[in-house]
Structures are given as C-alpha cells and as structure tokens.
Amino acid sequence: MRVNLEINGEQHTADDVWPGESLLYVLRERLGLPGAKNACEQGECGSCTVYLDGTPVCACLVAAGQAEGRSVRTVEGLGGEDRLDPVQDAFVRTGAVQCGFCTPGLVIAAHDLVHRNPHASDAEIREALAGNLCRCTGYEKILDAVRLAASTVAGERA
C-alpha cells in the first residue's frame, strides 16, 4: 500500500508498504530517517518516541497505515540546520548522553514535558520519562538535562 504523511514539515510518500509494517520501519527503512531507534519493538523502551499529530508515541506500536495523512515530528526535526533545540542542547551539556541510543526518544519525551509544563517537579519529570529506558546513565544526568531545558523554556516564555 501507499502511505502519505507529513514528516518534520515535509510531505513524504512511502510505496509498497506491507500492512504489518510499523511507522518506525517506514521512517527508518523506507524514508531514510533513522533518528528514532528500534530497541525493543514492544513499546517498552521509548527509544522510538516521535510526535504523531503533536502527541508522543512509540513509533514501533503505530501501524504504518495509521499514520496516513497525519503529521510526524522526529528528533531530526527538532533543531535547525545549525542550531540545537534547547532540549537537545541540555542533553549534551549535562552529560545526559553516553551511548546515546535512548537519547532520541528521551529528547522527544522531554521536549513534550518541558513545553507542557516548564515548571515540572522532579516527581513529575520522573513520571513523564518513565516510558523511556536508559541503560548507561542511571538517569541522574538526564534529570539534570530536563531541569536545564525546562528552565530555558520557562525563561523564553517569561
């Protein structure tokens, strides 16, 4: 089948899509956007988190056909050509990136949180990131990154 969708502001078409394919597969293998990662294929790890019509989802759990006519935003679409989004920048600055395989998904999850609630408490940050596994960092520096990004976003709004 053919799937038409908007990704990071551009229209894309994928042909010969098998009905069993996930949005993640279409992004990674058909449209050349490998930023979202495949680490569990069961919606447990969050490494494939993308925005679907503005809501973070695990792209591995979205059938490709469900994305027809919808808008997807991936980690590749957060920053500008030479500019990092404040969330991306905070992850680099705080040491929240080690192997980085979880990072694209966590960046999206954190981006969603700090824009919904730039004054989130630690408990709220933990709750918002509970669907994203990281095996390297022990999460402490990821919390630092989200706090830093939240303060940047809050500052921009003030």
């Binding site: 490998p34 990092l84 022990g138």
Partner: protein, 762 residues
C-alpha cells in the same frame, strides 16, 4: 532526504578541556540530533538483509537440515548452513569451542543453525522459519553441579576435563584455621542480562579484492577480526573491521554475534548484507552474567577480626566457554573481598551446561563474589553485635595489605574511608507530610498508603581488578599525528578502541590537548588499519588506550621539541621553555611537516596463577567502591523502593569528572537491577522472558537519587594516576540494597535478585 550510510565519521573536539576537566562529548551533538550512525542505522544501495534460524531446543542432535523450502520464498538470495563455512567452523574468545553454524548438535536454545539473505528483513525471517531441521531432542544438562557429577552427559567430547571449564584454587595461610565466631551461608546469583539498548547489528560489504569490510558494533575489533578470519579462511588484510556506532555494551559485545554470519552471506551473494537483531533475538545473541552458587564460611575473633574465609563458588558457564575461564579466575582471586584475611581457601569452578552461554558482563565474576562476601560480613556483624560498617572497617584492605594470591596491594586502597564517607552522609528525610503515592513502594499502583512500609539501610563495598589479568599481554596501540590545518595546529588520534558510550573519544581528545598544547583534536574512526587497542572491558580503556595515546603524544612532542633549542614543552599552540616562556609558534615550527608516531603501550606485566595455590601478581590494579542504600519495603506485598543509593569511589585521578560520575551512577543502577529486578528466567534450559516486557531493567521511577563522592588517590603505576572506573560501582550496589532490605524485613535473603515472595514468605 539524507540517508545514513556506512561511512564512519571522524569526530572533532575543539576548544579547551584537558585531563581533569569535563569538556563536552565530540559525538554528543550528532547523538542528540539523531544523526549518529549506529550499527543498526547502516544503509547501502543494493543491500540485503540477513536473518538467523536458531535452535528451539537447549540440547538436541541434528538429524538433517533441509533449506529447500526457504529457498522457494520469493526475495530470498541464499540460505547457508555449516557446510558453507569456508574456514574453521569454530570460534570463541578464549577457547574456540562454538560453531559458527551448528553441525550435528545444538547445545543451547538459540544456537544458530542456518542463515538467510533476502531483499528485506521480514522475508529473511519468514524464509529462515521455513528451513526444516530434524532434531532428536536430548535431555539437557541444566544444573551446574549436576553437570560435574559422574555419568552426566559430556557436552564437549573433545574438551579435556568433561564439563569442567576451569577450576581455580586459592590456598593462603593456615589450611585448617579455627575461630571462635563462625558464620556461614549459601548464596545464589541469578542470570543477569547486559540489556544494552542498541541490539546486535552491522553490515558486511564485499570488496573487489575478495575480502570484506565489516561495519559492526563491538567491544574489540581485533578479537572479532581474528575470529572472522579463521571462519572465512581469509588473511587479516582481507577482513577489515570498522567500528559502527555502539549502543551500549557492558560485556555483551565481547563475543561474536552476527559478524561471521553477515560476512558469509555477503561473500556468497556479492552484495552488502545487514543483520539487525530484534530484542528477543538479542537475548539469544549474546552471553549473560554467570549465575552462581556461592557457599561461604567466615571465621573471626570475638572482637571482629577475620581469621579465615572458606568458599566454594560454582559458575554456570552455559553451553560454550566464552570468557568463563577468566570469570572463574576473577571470582576466585577477588573472592575474599576488600579485606585483610590471613587464611583463605577458595575453590571456584566454571562449568559447561545446556543453559545460555555466559561470559562478560560489567563486574565479571567479582559481582557474584561480592554479593556473597558482603552478605557474610553483615552476618558476621550481627553475630558480633557490631555495626555492618564497623566490621568492614576493622578488616578493611589498605595499601600494603596482602591479597589471598599473595599479591601486595601497592597503591591506595581506601576501603575504610569509602565506607565511612557513605556512612557519614546525612540520611534522606523520613517519609512524612502529605501522602504522595510516588514516594511509596508500588508507586501509583496505589498498593499502600504507608501501612506495612518499613525503611532499611545497608552497606556494601567491593574490589575489582582493572585490565586483563593472569599474565595476559594487555596492550593498546595509538597513532597520533600533529600538523597544521587551516593555519591551526591539529592533533589527530587513531586507535582501534571501541567507544561504547563511556566517553573514550572525549578522553582521547583531552589527553592529546594536555600533552600537545593544541585546541583542535580529531578522533579518527576506530578500525583495524591501526594495531589492536584490546577490549573495551575490564574498566581498562582509560588506563591502557589512555596510556597509549599519552605515549604516542609524548613521542610526537619529543620530535617537535627537538627542533627548537631549549624547548621543554608544548602549550597554547606554542613551544615553551621549562619556565613556560614562549620560544616559538607551533604553527611555524611544524610548517608543512606532519609529525606522526605510533606507539604500542603495555601496562606492567601480570602473572599466571599457580595452579595449586593461586599465588601470583595476578592483577595490575585494584579498584574500590562503597555504597549505602536506603530502601522502603512494603513488607506485606514484598515491594521495594530504593530511596537513595549513595556511592563513594576512588578513581585515582578523575580524568573527566562528569564522565566519572556518569559511569558510577550508571554502574550503580545496573547493580540495583540485579538486586531487585533483573533475571533471565531459564527453565529446563529454555529462556522464559526474552523481552523488555518480561525482563525488567530499572526505569527512572525505579532509580533513586545517587549522590556520588569521588576520591582521587593516585596510583603511581598508572597513566595520570588514574584507576579504572566502570565496574566497581556495579559490585557493591547489589549487596548494599539487599542488606537494606534485610534490615527492613529481618529476612535472610540469600538470593539476588530479591523477589517479592522472598520478602513476604522468607
């Protein structure tokens, strides 16, 4: 549209940030933008996808394999079996005992039997499922001690010693000591998975010279190359390995997974072949932490001084040896812990069974021993009526102490100070105030409002060796080049060392900046066109590859300084005198020249263990960490919430303080996982939970605040005085948490991980 391909990129580190500072990762921007090319992101025009058919049985004879039905699937290019392996159909890190593809027997569930190349991954998987294998199912050997009993099936008939992989004996001091206070116990450690997030993957690209370029996520390019060459029957210059982006390792990438399979398919089809494991396959695609049974007896004086330690340790190595022999050596030589013990008697045994193969995982034998000896120290404290910290401090190893191998600890061993530092931290506040479910065991599952919840505090301390031990020729190679590019002096560093997330690329740039006084450092992609760097394991790369990079920088520096009379060093892109006076601009001194040096660097040699007593200078360095765990336990439901996990660790020199803290926190959480969550459930040799739905690793909600204190007592034998960092925090975290649960519940808890029923039912 951009597509990631097989190019491996150089990383450039600019600005300031030498040894002891925390400059940003040179790969950080790529990683947060989703542009870093992991091994699973590789792409090539015309590439095929590989898939692997694995045995569903833990032990079976193969009567026949029929690939015919798979070949009829449209889109399939080739289906290969053991008959298609052109070289040796055997590989292994220490013993070549594992077939690339099974021949007439399979020894564990998940053993590769056939491989397929097809146009897309789904076709490849479906075709692999159509290969017909006629198995004669055999009764598996699934108990490590039963495997050693007379009459047990011999799993590797050509291996001398039956199912025994290795036994290490430690004999130290009086062979028959007695003591007035004796405590004993039997402890069990479950099979833990490394659970890196980036699954096994890579791409093999056939080359015009009949060889292969293999892009892969690994921990040790040259060990892979050696094994791939043997299996393919090709010379090393025909098998060129390139490090693709690595999504975590923790030991699980030390052994081969898809390397030979992808190469075979690529050579046969003449096309690039990519293999990417899914999560379920990943559980079968790498070795795990050895499950262990550990029987300990500690004897002490009435005032709490250790008189002896006796231990019997059984490690289940599973179907193939992998690194079982070295893990056995570690568990034995470190089996008495970071304590002064005058009399030690340890038998440590690694065994073949039909369980999943076990090998390297962060902590490597020291983790299992630490859980047992620390549980014993708590038992001893209770028997003596003194505090857990006090009994440890009274016996704490220190510089000059003698290990049970007879080796004198010849650098700092601040075991007592580490314990005192975590003990003396303020405790986290008691629960109180308004009800917040998120602060209770069970969380928003709303299983308690505080009734039945008891707080406990526990301690642990451990000792880990750094680097490869027991006489292994442990070295690394670095090529460093200094030249002027765009009017600026630029250093480039080329090694084969695997960056797996820990930050070695950052560290290499820091060392070059410190030694060569330049701002801009280029880290070239790791590959086999430069000599081996050894494995990214054993907490060794900062020490060994760090040492090699420093030595190569020194050689480059000497060559540059020889050009300027009175020169003593390089700083601020200038040649300076001993007093720091600028003698010449480095750009002018270099001119058009390229100064390049390649250095192979070794740490001081270690010795093989005496087979009768274990005596040896076995380890090049010891590293220590201590934890204090605070837990809340719902004693009615057996649910645990770790409230705080404080760590103190001596790192000799904090080469990159931010990265050091990141390693300590990450390692501590892997220990937390082993304490209360993580175990591969193996029933009759069959894995029951090969998914992230069923094998649980800690989420951010399972993970507490982790204050870290970093001590820096330089080791005079090591580059910059540094001490390996990655593994020690994984050792002591587990026993500290289990001790805290014991303190809260009064249960004996002799098994890690602790399950709810152990807490509720005892």
């Amino acid at each position: 549209m951009s597509r990631t391909d097989t190019r491996t990129e150089s990383l450039t580190s600019t600005g300031t940030g030498g040894v002891g500072e925390s400059p940003l990762r040179p790969d950080g921007t790529l990683k947060v933008r989703g542009e870093f090319a992991y091994s699973s992101d590789l792409w090539h025009e015309d590439m095929l996808w590989g898939a692997t058919l694995r045995s569903p049985h833990p032990y079976a004879r193969i009567r026949s394999i029929d690939v015919g039905p798979a070949l009829t699937v449209p889109g399939v290019h080739v289906v290969l079996t053991h008959e298609d392996v052109p070289g040796e159909n055997r590989y292994g890190l220490e013993h070549a005992d594992q077939p690339v593809l099974a021949v007439d027997v399979v020894r564990y569930q998940g053993e590769p039997v056939a491989i397929v190349a097809a146009d897309d991954p789904e076709t490849a998987r479906r075709a692999a499922a159509r290969v017909r294998v006629d198995y004669e199912v055999l009764e598996p050997v699934t108990d490590a001690e039963a495997a050693l009993a007379d009459g047990a099936p011999v799993l590797h008939p050509d291996h001398p010693g039956g199912n025994l992989v290795r036994q290490v004996r430690i004999r130290f001091g009086d062979p028959a000591p007695t003591a007035p206070v004796v405590v004993s116990g039997e402890y069990t450690v479950g099979m833990q998975d490394q659970a890196f997030l980036g699954p096994e993957s890579g791409m093999a690209v056939p080359a015009e010279d009949g060889g292969i370029d293999l892009y892969v996520a690994t921990q040790w390019l040259h060990a892979d190359q050696r094994q791939v060459c043997l299996a393919l029957g090709l010379a090393p210059d025909k098998v060129r390995l390139h490090l693709a982006g690595v999504g975590g390792a923790f030991g699980a990438r030390e052994d081969l997974s898809m390397q030979v399979h992808a190469s075979l398919l690529a050579l046969r089809t003449g096309k690039p072949v990519k293999i990417v494991y899914g999560r379920e396959e990943s559980f079968f695609g790498h070795v795990h932490r050895h499950p262990a049974v550990l029987r300990y007896e500690h004897g002490a004086t009435r005032d709490g001084e250790l008189v002896y330690v006796q231990a019997e340790i059984i490690l289940d190595g599973g179907a193939y040896a992998s690194t079982t022999a070295a893990v056995t050596g570690n568990a034995a030589t470190l089996g008495a812990g970071p304590y002064r013990v005058p009399n030690v008697h340890i038998d440590c045994t690694g065994v073949y069974t039909n369980n999943p193969p076990c090998g390297a995982m962060r902590g490597f034998g020291a983790v299992q021993a630490c859980f047992a000896y620390e549980s014993q120290m708590d038992k001893l404290a209770e028997a003596l009526g003194i505090s857990p910290v006090e009994v440890r401090v009274r016996n704490a190893l220190e510089q000059g102490s003698v290990m049970p191998t007879g080796q004198v600890v010849d650098s700092a061993a601040p075991v007592a100070e580490l314990l005192e530092r975590v003990r003396d931290r303020p405790l986290p506040p008691e629960r109180g105030g308004p009800l917040d479910l998120r602060e209770l065991p069970g969380g928003v599952s709303n299983t308690t409002h505080g009734e039945g919840v008891v707080r406990g505090v526990g301690y642990g301390v451990g000792v880990k060796n750094v680097g490869f031990s027991e006489g292994f020729d442990d070295y690394s190679t670095a090529r460093v080049r200094l030249e002027v590019t765009a009017g600026e002096p630029v250093a480039s560093v080329h090694t084969a060392a695997a960056e797996v997330g820990q930050g070695l690329v950052t560290l290499q740039a820091q060392i070059a900046r410190t030694e060569l006084g330049v701002a801009r450092v280029v880290i070239l992609p790791a590959d086999t066109s430069v000599g081996s760097a050894g494995s990214t394991s054993a907490s060794r790369q900062s020490y060994v590859t760090g040492g090699a990079v420093r030595a190569a920088c020194e050689a480059v520096r000497e060559a540059v300084l020889a050009r300027v009379p009175g020169a003593a060093g390089l700083a601020g892109a200038a040649v300076v005198s001993a007093s720091g006076e600028v003698l010449a601009d480095l750009v002018e001194v270099l001119g058009e020249d390229v100064v390049e040096r390649t250095v192979e660097w070794r740490h001081r040699p270690t010795e093989a263990l005496d087979p009768a007593t274990g005596r040896a200078f076995a380890h090049v360095q010891y590293a220590f960490a201590a934890h204090r765990a605070v837990v809340d336990v719902d004693t009615e439901l057996g649910l645990v919430r770790v409230v705080e996990l404080a760590c103190a660790q001596d790192v000799g020199r904090a080469m990159n303080p931010d990265a050091v803290v990141g390693q300590i926190q990450g390692g501590s959480v892997q220990g937390l996982g082993l304490a209360v969550m993580e175990e591969i459930q193996v029933v009759d040799g069959v894995v029951r939970n090969a998914s992230f739905t069923d094998y649980l690793i800690p989420t951010v909600l399972d993970t507490p605040p982790m204050p870290v204190e970093v001590l820096e007592y330089a080791d005079p034998h090591a580059p910059y005085g540094l001490r390996g960092v990655g593994e020690p925090p994984t050792l002591s975290s587990t026993p500290a948490i289990v001790a805290a649960i014991r303190a809260a519940t009064g249960r004996a808890l002799t098994r890690a991980p602790v399950r709810p029923e152990h807490i509720v039912d005892g």
